[in-house]
């Protein structure tokens, strides 16, 4: 039962924001701006270093939530929400984990749809929160039956 997964969380995983990864990501979203990729521009900026684009946390490893066995196919991405305390800096280390925040079902045109709300958290080495990334995944009735849920 997906409802039983609410509150389950992964172990923290250490991620380093690599310059090359930020450059590739910025290019892939068509935004290779100096503030993200040019070292001199970063040093002269108000942040004194390069920063990462706001959706860069999709690349972070946040571990595995135990007993949450989602299928690799048939999931629909419904919503994505970021909150930041400050921009993430190139070169810094971020500790990430994930939690199932909620699960609910609603009836619609395509049957009874499941909504799984998962939040990724990123902290610095002192355990201070830097960002959250919430993802709402929609799971159709057919896909849930395939999972035995």
């Amino acid at each position: 039962m997906l409802k039983d997964s609410i509150g389950k969380r992964s172990e923290k995983v250490r991620n380093t924001i690599e310059r090359g990864a930020v450059r590739k990501f910025a290019e892939a979203i068509g935004d290779p701006a100096p503030i993200f990729i040019d070292e001199a521009a970063g040093a002269e900026s108000v942040y004194k270093r390069n920063i990462a684009p706001p959706t860069f946390p999709v690349t972070f490893d946040a571990g595995v939530i135990p007993e949450l066995d989602l299928p690799s196919k048939g999931l629909i991405h419904g919503e994505q929400i970021y909150t930041y305390v400050r921009p993430l800096l190139v070169g810094e280390t971020v500790y990430c984990w994930m939690e199932v925040k909620d699960y609910y079902e609603r009836s619609g045109k395509m049957g009874r749809m499941g909504f799984l709300v998962m939040t990724k958290y990123g902290e610095n080495a002192n355990g201070e929160l830097l960002f959250t990334e919430e993802r709402i995944v929609i799971i159709s009735e057919a896909v849930r039956k395939g999972m035995g849920a």
Partner: protein, 137 residues
């Protein structure tokens, strides 16, 4: 470029019209993001999933949309970025990125943002809260 705090409610940031979406765009995003779901890159997999063809990663479009704010990142930062995925983006689609200032409170500017396809349909819709106060680092 103007100071972002000079904007008033109802003002828009300059729109950006993306080039038609190519398979290479999505292959690059798959590699850069680590999202290798094959419905974004391989025709047969997309068809098997009941789609008429491969579709862009929602996060590719969301990543693109944020660039409207990149020119202002020396004046502040994105505190909140919330998107609802409303429609699919296919190969060849031409997507336009938009942001309109809805509310200006003290140091926080709230924008309504959208990515619109060439048929005028919103494929992404949401909001950005831009803090015009620089953070403590």
């Amino acid at each position: 470029m103007i100071g972002i705090k000079e904007l008033r409610a109802g003002d828009s940031l300059p729109e950006v019209r993306l080039n038609p979406v190519t398979r290479l765009d999505l292959i690059k995003y798959a590699g850069a993001s680590g999202d290798f779901n094959p419905i974004h890159t391989i025709d047969a997999e997309a068809e098997q999933a009941g789609l008429p063809g491969i579709i862009a990663h929602g996060m590719w479009t969301m990543g693109n949309l944020a660039k409207l704010f990149t020119p202002y990142l020396e004046q502040g930062f994105i505190r909140e970025y919330a998107i609802r995925f409303r429609g699919m983006v296919f190969l060849g689609d031409v997507v336009t990125l938009k942001a309109v200032l809805k509310d200006l409170q003290d140091q926080e500017l709230t924008f309504e943002v959208a990515a619109v396809n060439h048929d005028g349909q919103d494929v992404l819709k949401g909001s950005v809260v831009f803090s015009a106060e620089l953070p403590d680092l």
